[in-house]
C-alpha cells in the first residue's frame, strides 16, 4: 500500500474516545445534515493534514474499499 499513514496507529489509546465523540457530534442530525457534517469534517481534517501527497494517498485508500 502506498498510503503509509493508513498503516500507522495514530489514535493509540484514544480510539474509543474519538469514536464516541464522533457519534456525539452527529447527535440529533438527520441523514442529510449528517452527510453535510461529514463533508465539513473531511475538509477541516484535510486542512489540518495540509500535505497534498498524504491527502492523495488517503483518497486512494478510502476509494479502494468501495464495494
Amino acid at each position: 500500500m502506498n498510503d503509509k499513514g493508513a498503516e500507522k496507529d495514530g489514535l493509540g489509546a484514544d480510539g474509543d474516545a474519538f469514536y464516541e465523540a464522533l457519534m456525539a457530534a452527529h447527535d440529533g442530525l438527520d441523514e442529510i445534515q449528517g452527510h453535510a457534517l461529514n463533508a465539513r469534517l473531511v475538509l477541516l481534517m484535510a486542512n489540518e493534514i495540509g500535505d497534498m501527497t498524504a491527502l492523495a494517498a488517503i483518497l486512494q485508500t478510502a476509494r479502494k474499499f468501495d464495494d
Binding site: M1, A6, E7, K8, D9, G10, L11, G15, D16, Y19, E20, L22, M23, H26, L29, E31, G34, T61, F65
Partner: protein, 539 residues
Amino acid sequence: MAQYHYTPFEYHKPPGLTRKEDRHDVVIVGAGPIGLAMAIDLALRGVSSVVLDDNDVVSVGSRAICWAKRTLEIFDRLGVGERMLDKGVTWKVGRLFHGKDEVYNFDLLPEDGHKYPAFINLQQYYVEQYLVDRVRDFPDLIDLRFKNQVVDHKDHGDHVVLQVETPDGAYDLEAGYFIACDGAGSATRGRMGLAFDGQTFEEHFLIVDVEMQDSPFATDQPERWFWFEPPFHPGQSALLHQQPDNIYRIDLQLGPDADPAGEAAEEKVIPRIKAIVGDKPFNLDWMSVYKFRCAKLDRFVHNRVLFVGDSAHVVSPFGARGGNGGIQDVDNLGWKLAAVLAGAADPELLDTYHDERSHGSQENIMNSSRATNFMTPKTPMEAVFRNEVLKLAHDLPFARKLINSGRLSVPCSLEGGALQSEGDCVVGSGHAVVDAPLRNREWLVERLQGDFLLAGFGDVKVPEVSGLSRLGVGHSSDEYPCVEPANEYAVSRYGDGSIYLFRPDGHVAASFSSSDVNLISAAFDRARGLTKNPAGGSS
C-alpha cells in the same frame, strides 16, 4: 438442566427467632459471588459476619462466566483462585468476524510469567459453590443463613436494625455495618429510595448455554468468537464462548423490537443454534432474553449501609465488567472496614471506598457503554460509520482497534486517589500488583497482597518502618523474609533497586527509589487514611 446438579443448602432456624441476638459487627445481605467473597475477605482479617440470603441454591444458569486476571488474583488471596483456574476454561485467542470473513484475531495476554491468565470462563454456579465451600473454613467467623430474607432495615446512626423473615417466622438483627450485596435489583437500594441513574439500552439479547460434545471452534483450543452481521444471523451480532463441562455460551443480538417470551421459546432458539453449530448434536442447558442498562449510585456509602457489586453499579455484559468490578469492590472495602472496626482508622476511611470504586465503576460504565453503542447503532449514520470501520479493519490496523465488541476488564488504577502518594518507579502509584514467577513454583502475587507490605526489588535494603511488614525480592537479608525470583521478571517488572508500599488489596500506595524512612512513614500514614487533608492527593 443437563450438567450441574443443584443441591439446596441447609436452612437452620436462626437463634434470633428464640432470643435477641447480640449486635453483629457486620451483616451482609446476598450470598452471591460478591456477598460470599466479602464475608471471606473480612474473615481473613478476623472480622465476623452474618450472611443472609433469601434463597438456598447457587446461581441458576451460568450467568457471569468471564473472570478476569485481576479477579482471579483476588480470589487467590481469598483461597478459591486455584480451584477456579483448575476447573475453568482458559482462553486467550479471540476472533472477530464480519459476515463470513475473519477480520482479525488477537491474543489477550501475550506476556508470560503470570500465575493467572487474562481470563477464564467458569459458570457462576461453580464460583458460588467454591465460595460456599471456602466459607465453611470459617465456622466461627461466618454465619451463613439461607432462606433468611431481609424485608426491612433502619439505620439508627451507630447501627442498623434488620427485619428478617424465615420459614419459621420473623426476627430482628442488629448490625454495626450492613453490606448490601443484593444485586442489580437491590431491595436495600429500593427501600432507601436511592436514585440509580444511567443509560438504558433498547436492544434485546438472547443468551443460550448449549451442551455439545464436539467443539464448534476450528482448533482444539478454546477461543472467543464474535461476529458482526454473521450469515446465520443477518444484521445482528453474535458471540460464542466455551465453558467447562462442554457447555458453550451463545449471545445473540435480537434488536429492539424482539418479543422476549417468543424469542426464548425452544422452537425459536433451536434453529438459531443449528445455524451456528451446524449438524453437531447439542442440548439446550439454559437460556434467557435480556435487556440491560448502565447505571450507578451517587454514593456507595450511606452511613452504616454500604453498597457493593451490582447493587451499587450495573453495566452491559460486553467487557465482563459486572462480576469483575464487584470483586474489586470487595477487595477495596474489606481491609478498610476491618481497620475501622478495629479502631485503627476513622469511619471516613470508608469514604475512600466510595471514591475509588465509584471511579472504577464509572470507568466500567464508560467502556461498556461505548461497546454497546458500537454494537447497536442507533441511527443510519451510526450504522454507516460502524460498517465502514469493519470494512477498513480487514486491512488497516488502526480500524481494528476501533472495532468495539467489549473492552475486556483490566484492573482499575487508583492513581491520584487520596490514599496514594507520588511514586517514581516502574509500577505507578494506584496500580494493582504485577505478577512474576518465584522459585519453587510460587508467585509474587501470592506474597504482595493481604496486608500492608514494604517490598524491595533487586539490589536494595528495605528499611524498618514501624508497623509495616517487609519483603525482599531478589536479594537476601538477615532482618526480614526474602523470596527468590525464578527469572528476571520480578525485578525488571518493578525496577532494580525500587521499594514499594503495597496496600492490603495489592495496589501500589507509593514507590521509592531511595529508602527515606520519613517519606515511607508519611506514605504509610496516608495509605491508612491517618493523614488529614493530604497535600497533593485528590479524589
